[in-house]
Subunit: 460 residues, 2 copies
C-alpha cells in the first residue's frame, strides 16, 4: 500500500477520535471580542499547540501580539529537499453565541445531531483548522510529509484581525512559503466542491452634508433652503446610472475584465436569478446591465449605502428641515481597482455634483484590496485534483463577493498567493444560532487535504 | 373728547397697571405639555375669567374639553344693534422653559430689563391675550363697545390644539361671529406693523421602502439587490426637478397664482436673499426658479424631507445592505391646494417611479389646509387703518410659510375669516430661553387694538 493510501486509511479509521478531539476544541468558548474570555482564548491557543506537539512539529509557540496571540508551528520535514512549503492560515477565535435561547443545544457543548456537529465555531472555523491538523497527522503517522507545512493560526479574525498585518510584517522570514492554504471559505453545497479564487476588496466612507446652522422650521424656511436630506439623496441617486453602473469618475478604469473562460466557469454555478431572489426575498433583482447575478457579485464592483440618517426619525411627526444628513457608503472592489483611488474618485464626484447650497465632508473609514489568484497555480491544481479523487468530480471555481482581507494582505506583505477552500456549507449558519458542521463533508475534507499535500508535493 | 380719545388716554395712563397685571399672568407656569401642571393651567384659565368678570362680560366660563379647558366670555353690548361681532382667539398655555440655566432671570419671574419684559409666554402669547383684554377694558371703562366681542382662549395650542376642533364643532352657535381676531402672529420688526393674510397648509407622510427580508452582507449580495437606502434616495431626488419644482403629478394644478399686486406687496418686505442666508447660515439659497425667497416661503408650496433613516447609523462601520429605509416627508401647501389630494399625488408619483425591485408603503400622518384672507376684508382694513393711526404708516402684508391650523379650521368649522396680527417681534425668542416682550411695541399694540375696534365698528 502506498504511503498516500495508508494515510487515507488512517484518516478513515480515526473518524471517531477526530470528532472527539474537535468537540474538545469547540467546547472552548474562545470569543475574541469578549474581554472576559482571555483565559478561554489562551486555552484554545494551547489546544492547538498541544496538537502540534503531538504531531512532532517544531518552533511551536504562542506568539503574543497587542491583542490575542498567534499560534505558530512548522514541519520542515518533507520527504525530499526543495519540497514546497504550504503556510496554513486559520483562526481559533469564534463569534459570540448570542442569542443563546435560539440554540437547540448549548453553543459550547458540541452536540452531534444526525449528520451534524452543532456548536459555535464548529464550521467557522475550528472544524476547518482541525481538518488541516488531522490531515497532517494522517500523513505523519504513516511516514514523512510530501511538503513542508507551517501553521499560522490567529485569534482575532472575528474582530477584524487588527494585529495580523504587523505580525506578518515582523515575521516575514518565519512565514516564508510557496503558497498559503486558507480553508476559511466554504462550499456552495455538499455535492459542489468549491475553490474560491477571487475576493472583492472594500472601501468604506462616511459622507456628511451640512445645510443650515441648526434645524429649521419647515414652514418658515421650506422653499428657500436646500434640505440636506434631499441633497444627500440627490448625491446618492446620482452614484448609479440607469444601467446600474457606478458613476464615480474613473471607477471602472482599472476593473479587470472577465475572460470568456471565467464567464463560462461562473455560469456553471447554481446561482441564478431565482437563487438570489430566494436568498434575499426581494421581488426582483437589480444590478449592472450585461452581467449575470453571479458575475455582478463576484467579478464586478458594487456601491452600497450601509446607513442613512437625517433629522427626526422617531414616532410621529416633527416639521423640521434637518441641519445635516449622513450616509455610510461602501464599495466592494475587484482586481485591479485601488481602494485608495476610490476615495479620490468619490471625492471628485462630490466636487463635481454637490451643490453650492451645502457644505460636505467625506470621511474615509477603512479599505482593503481585492485579491485574485491564478486558477492554474500548481497548488490550485493540486487541490482541484484532490477534489476529483474524493468527490469524483472537479471543483467549481467561485469568485466571492465578500472580502477576506488576510488574502490581499498576505499577497502584499508575504508576496504569496492563497488557495481558498473549506468544508463548511452555505447553510451552516455561521455567526448565527445553531451553527453546525456537516460531518460527512468534513471527513471527505480531511481526505481531500491528504490528497492535496501529496498532489502538491509531487507537482511542486 | 371722543369716546375713542378717552379710551386711548385711559390705555396710556394705565400702562403701569397693565404691565403689573401681565406680570401676574406670566408668573403662572401654565405649561400644557406637563402633566404636573394641571393646577397651574387652571390658575391661568382663572386669571382670564377673573379679568373678564372685572370687565363685566357675560357667559364667562371655563369650559372643559378632553384636555385643558377653553375660557369663554362675551360682550354682546355694542353701542348699536347689528354691530359686528369679533371672536378673539388666543391661548393661555406656554411652552416648557427648559433649559432653565440659559435664562438670565427665572422664566416664571416676569422680569423687566430695559424696554423688555422677560418670561416664558410674555410674547407667545400671554402678552397678546392681555393686550386684547386691556384694549377692551380701555373702551368699556369709558363707554360702550363699538363691536360685540367674544373671547375663546384655549389651553392646548402648544401641544397642537387636539381638542379645539371638536370644541368648535359643538359650540358653533356660541362662537358665531363676523370675523376672528388672532393676535398670535407677530411683527417683522418694531417699525413694521404687520398683517399676516395667508398661511401655508401641511400634509405629512412617512414613506417606507422594503427590500430584502433582512439585512444582507453587502459583500455577498452587493450588486444584485437594489439597496432600499438607494431606492429611497432615488425617489426623494426625483421629487424636485432641476428648477426646484415639485414633480408630484398635478401638484401645482390648483396653486393660486400670485397677482401682480401681491408680488409688489411682498417685494416691500425686508426679507431678501441676504436676510435668509443670515437667518439660516446656508452658503447659498435654493428653491423654485422664477420666485423671490419671500414668495417661495409664503406663496409657493414646498416639499421637505423631515427625517431619513436606514441601516447602520452608529459609530464606525457595518457592511450591511439594509432591509428597509424610511423617510418623513412633508409638504407645505398654499391656497387652493387640497391636502388630501396631495396624498394621492404622492402615491401616484410612487406608483409611477418606484422600481419593481422593492415594496413600499406610504403612511399619511396629518394634514391641514392652507388659508388666505382677503386683504380688502373690512376687518383687515380696520386693522390697517389702526396701524396708520398708531405707527404713522400702513402695515406690511405678509404671507406666513408656517401653518396655524386654527385659522383654516375656523374657516371650515365656523365659516369665518381671521385677521392675523400681533405685537411680538421676530427676535422675541419664543419657545427658547429668555423669551421677551418689547414693551413700547406692546403699548402701541393696545392702542392699535382700541383703534381697530372703533374702526371696525364704524365700518361694519
Amino acid at each position: 500500500m502506498s504511503h498516500r493510501q495508508k494515510a487515507l486509511e488512517y484518516a478513515n479509521t480515526m473518524r471517531e477520535s477526530f470528532l472527539e478531539q474537535l468537540k474538545d476544541f469547540v467546547r472552548i468558548p474562545s470569543i475574541s471580542t469578549d474581554p472576559e474570555k482571555k483565559a478561554e482564548m489562551q486555552a484554545a491557543a494551547e489546544w492547538i499547540t498541544a496538537k502540534l506537539r503531538d504531531l512532532g512539529l517544531r518552533e511551536i509557540s504562542i506568539i503574543p501580539t497587542e491583542g490575542h496571540p498567534v499560534v505558530y508551528g512548522e514541519c520542515q520535514c518533507a520527504d525530499r529537499p526543495n519540497a514546497p512549503t504550504v503556510l496554513i492560515y486559520g483562526h481559533y477565535d469564534v463569534q459570540p453565541s448570542e442569542p443563546d435561547d435560539l440554540w437547540k443545544s448549548p453553543p459550547f457543548e458540541a452536540t452531534v445531531r444526525g449528520e451534524n456537529l452543532y456548536g459555535r465555531g464548529a464550521s467557522d472555523m475550528k472544524g476547518q483548522v482541525a481538518a488541516t491538523l488531522f490531515a497532517v497527522e494522517s500523513i505523519l503517522k504513516n511516514g514523512k510529509m510530501p511538503v513542508n507545512v507551517k501553521f499560522m493560526i490567529e485569534g482575532e479574525e472575528e474582530i477584524g484581525s487588527p494585529n495580523l498585518n504587523s505580525f506578518m510584517e515582523s515575521h516575514k522570514e518565519l512565514l516564508a512559503c510557496d503558497v498559503a492554504l486558507n480553508p476559511d471559505s466554504g462550499m456552495i453545497a455538499a455535492d459542489l466542491p468549491t475553490i474560491t479564487y477571487a475576493l472583492r476588496g472594500l472601501a468604506y466612507f462616511e459622507l456628511r452634508v451640512y445645510g443650515p446652522e441648526h434645524d429649521l422650521h419647515s414652514g418658515l424656511f421650506g422653499g428657500v433652503v436646500h434640505n440636506p436630506a434631499q441633497v444627500i439623496s440627490e448625491l446618492i441617486a446620482g452614484m448609479h446610472d440607469q444601467d446600474g453602473r457606478i458613476t464615480l469618475p474613473g471607477f471602472y478604469d482599472r476593473v479587470r475584465p472577465l475572460s470568456e473562460e471565467e464567464r463560462a466557469e461562473l455560469a456553471k454555478l447554481p446561482m441564478d436569478e431565482e437563487y438570489y431572489k430566494r436568498q434575499t426575498g426581494v421581488p426582483a433583482l437589480y444590478g449592472e446591465k450585461g452581467f449575470t447575478p453571479v458575475e455582478r457579485v463576484g467579478a464586478r464592483p458594487s456601491l452600497d449605502v450601509n446607513g442613512l440618517y437625517s433629522g427626526f426619525t422617531g414616532q410621529g411627526q416633527k416639521t423640521v428641515i434637518p441641519s445635516w444628513a449622513m450616509a455610510k457608503i461602501s464599495t466592494r472592489l475587484v482586481p485591479d481597482q485601488d481602494p485608495a483611488a476610490v476615495f479620490d474618485q468619490l471625492k471628485q464626484y462630490l466636487m463635481e455634483k454637490a451643490p453650492k447650497t451645502v457644505r460636505w465632508e467625506l470621511i474615509q473609514m477603512s479599505y482593503g484590496a481585492a485579491s485574485i489568484s491564478d486558477i492554474h497555480h500548481p497548488a490550485t491544481q493540486a487541490l482541484a485534483n484532490a477534489f476529483v479523487s474524493v468527490w469524483g468530480k472537479p471543483p467549481v471555481y467561485k469568485r466571492e463577493g465578500g472580502s477576506i482581507p488576510v488574502v490581499g494582505n498576505m499577497q502584499r506583505i508575504l508576496g504569496v498567493e492563497s488557495v481558498l477552500t473549506g468544508f463548511g456549507l452555505s447553510d451552516d449558519n455561521i455567526h448565527g444560532p445553531n451553527e453546525k458542521l456537516h460531518l460527512p463533508t468534513w471527513y471527505k475534507g480531511i481526505q481531500t487535504l491528504v490528497h492535496f499535500f501529496y498532489n502538491y508535493g509531487e507537482q511542486g
